[in-house]
């Protein structure tokens, strides 16, 4: 089940820079007796085009790890390199620009603005990036086209089914042509059939467009479809899926 990542040096390419590399990440919340160590020293590398599932139970630290990797939070200890650049050296504006252009996010809860149209929701990252209205529209429609949602472009976010909403979220994550797509329980709120469709879209993007896919889940069936699985428990990565084995 736990296939190791292909070693590039074995297949004859020069060693590429991993898109994400983390060393000894630690993160704690609270102080004194309330102190909770969410991460206790996590190291990992993720190569370009990889598909990785971070698997763990509630409170295992998997979401904290994803937030650190997505540069949404800063670790207490350890370093993260994004495409060879140390994230700690980036500040403010450059960090925001990096997050905006490199990462896409897909969430369980969708986070769509119910009063805005589907198109407006989708082009939000472009708006934040300062892209002009005309280009926003063209790129938004292109990505909706790709996800077969073009006919829903003018619908309000609230008037969509769960599967449609998650596809809109994926469209929003893709509109900036990100290199890494972070998904947090992307199928958690969907029924099995719809969840399957969304999974297929995500893996299709990984396979056909080379987008690195990093997904946080506690769903072992979903995790099984990824090229790599990282199991996390009590803030440390564990080599095998003990829970599942037990």
């Amino acid at each position: 089940m736990n296939t190791p990542p292909p070693d590039p040096s074995e297949i004859g390419f020069p060693m590429p820079v991993p898109i994400l590399a983390a060393r000894d990440l630690t993160k704690s919340y609270g102080r004194g007796p309330d102190r909770f160590d969410a991460l206790k020293g996590v190291s990992l590398t993720i190569d370009r085009g990889d598909s990785v599932a971070i698997v763990g139970k509630s409170g295992s630290g998997k979401s904290t790890l994803m937030h650190l990797l997505a540069l949404l939070d800063t670790p207490d200890g350890g370093t993260i390199d994004v495409d060879g650049t140390e994230a700690r050296s980036l500040a403010g504006r450059r960090l925001n620009a990096l997050r905006n252009s490199m990462f896409g996010f897909v969430f369980q809860q969708f986070f769509l603005n119910p009063s805005s149209s589907v198109l407006e929701n989708v082009v939000l990252p472009l708006k934040i990036a300062g892209v002009g209205a005309k280009e926003r529209r063209a790129r938004g429609m292109a990505v909706l086209e790709q996800l077969e949602l073009a006919d829903k472009a003018k619908n309000k976010g609230a008037n969509l089914s769960g599967g449609q909403k998650q596809r809109v979220v994926i469209a929003r994550a893709l509109v900036n042509n990100p290199q890494v797509l972070f998904a947090d329980e992307p199928t958690g709120n969907l029924d099995t059939a719809t969840g399957r469709i969304v999974e297929d879209i995500l893996f299709g993007l990984n396979r056909d467009h080379g987008i690195t896919l990093i997904t946080v889940t506690h769903d072992h069936d979903l995790a099984a479809r990824f090229a790599r699985r990282l199991f996390i428990r009590d803030g440390v990565l564990i080599p095998t899926d003990e829970e599942h084995a037990a």
Binding site: L72, Q108, F111, G130
Partner: protein, 428 residues
């Protein structure tokens, strides 16, 4: 995020919760409405005072009196000075005024900048009559260089030898004229009694008819020729001393800056004279009105500050509601500055809406009320528009309200800006 996108998004966001935004706008509306009305009142009244001041006199003349120091309470009796003479004066019973003699006039004339000095003679004509109609009491205004606003006719000929007067419009019908146009150019007879009790008459021509105004108090403006003729008649048989002493003099000067005027005033003060321009004398009216307007403005600003707290409340609720959205936008790389700008722009926009609507309503209602008043209760005061709206002051009101709204928006905007995307996205 581009500024234009921030503006558009802020505008869209402010309409998301329509009822809440409308109520906040209503609160601002009340403040902006009041402020615009009080401002309009201030503009209207000071416009009117300005025209009235222009109506009653030239701004390049002082009324000069001898400075009286004896009135100082607690200073005890003053030593007798044979060089000064006192006459009974108006005001509190028993008060006196120092008189000016020819030597004083000469001294005033020597002050640099003063171009001419003429004594102010108190003229007390008995009546005015036209063509055998009824006689009416008349008081005359000896203000030199007055430019009253005329309904008919033309201004006084100060240089000519023909005695002329400007008739207040209230005299037109009683004197027997069919209309103002008929009165112009007619010769009237003015009766005056001399020191020995003998009645004299002087014939004067009506040069023009004056609009009724707040400050003219019914006195007729007369030219120098008439003033001299009346004075001659009045002084017949008077002791010589009375003919050469006056309680006040008019000193004219070339048009000057307010600094030069101030300079001349201090020189006159050093020489022992008190000089007042017409502005000084009427300025007290303006000060009182400005004080009243200021108090009204203060009430309006208090209303606006209350409305400001409404904005704080509205936006804090918005920030609360949009926690996840803000977190998402920050996760997508939106900077704290943009988030702050987004919410404070929303506050300023709400302020703009409230103040624009409030000012528009105030202008609409104010203009209607002011027009009705000018036609009705205030029709006696020609030219008084009690509410006048200057574009600049209305714009200032709108900007002030927007500034207050912006200030009120900074707290919620700051709270939104410092929000951590993680807190918004954590949902395990």
């Amino acid at each position: 995020m581009k500024p234009m996108d921030i503006l558009k998004t802020a505008v869209t966001n402010s309409f998301r919760s329509k009822l809440r935004t409308s109520l906040t706008i209503l609160a601002i509306f009340v403040g902006a409405f009041t402020l615009t009305i009080t401002n309009g009142l201030g503009t209207g009244i000071s416009n009117y005072i300005d025209t009235q001041i222009a109506a009653v006199g030239s701004s390049n003349a002082f009324t000069v009196t001898k400075t009286d120091t004896s009135g100082t309470p607690g200073s005890g009796p003053q030593k007798y000075d044979p060089a000064s003479r006192r006459v009974a004066a108006g005001g509190r019973p028993g008060s006196t005024a120092l008189v000016l003699a020819q030597s004083d006039l000469d001294a005033i004339g020597r002050i640099s900048g003063i171009t001419g000095v003429s004594p102010v003679t108190r003229l007390s004509p008995d009546y005015i009559q036209w063509a055998g109609h009824d006689k009416y009491q008349l008081s005359v205004s000896p203000l030199a260089g007055a430019t009253p606003q005329l309904d008919a006719g033309s201004g006084l000929d100060e240089a000519g030898s023909q005695p002329q007067l400007i008739l207040p419009s209230s005299y037109v019908a009683p004197l027997g004229f069919a209309g103002e146009a008929q009165a112009v150019g007619q010769d009237t007879v003015i009766g005056i009694t001399d020191a020995t009790g003998k009645a004299h008459t002087v014939t004067a021509r009506i040069a023009g008819v004056q609009q009724s105004a707040l400050l003219s108090a019914g006195g007729a403006f007369i030219n120098k020729a008439l003033s001299t003729a009346l004075a001659d008649a009045q002084d017949t048989g008077a002791p010589a001393a009375a003919k050469t002493t006056w309680t006040a003099a008019t000193a004219t000067f070339a048009p000057s800056s307010s600094r030069q005027v101030q300079d001349m005033k201090s020189k006159l003060a050093a020489a022992g004279y008190t000089a007042q321009t017409l502005d000084d004398r009427i300025g007290t009216v303006r000060t009182v009105i400005n004080g009243i307007i200021g108090v009204l403005d203060a009430f309006a600003v208090i209303a606006l500050i209350a409305a400001g707290f409404g904005i704080v409340n509205t936006l804090l609720m918005s920030v609360q509601e949009r926690t996840r959205e803000i977190g998402l936008m920050k996760a997508m790389g939106m900077g704290s500055g943009s988030v702050f700008a987004l919410f404070s722009t929303e506050a300023a926009f709400i302020g703009f809406l409230g103040s624009a609507i409030g000012s528009a309503a105030a202008i609409g209602l104010g203009t209607a009320v002011s027009g009705a008043l000018a036609r009705g209760p205030l029709s006696d005061l020609a030219g008084l528009q009690i509410l006048a709206f200057a574009p600049l002051s209305v714009a200032a009101v709108i900007l002030l309200v927007m500034a207050i709204a912006f200030l009120a928006g900074t707290l919620p905007a700051w709270r939104a800006a410092r929000q951590n995307p993680i807190d918004a996205l954590r949902y395990e």
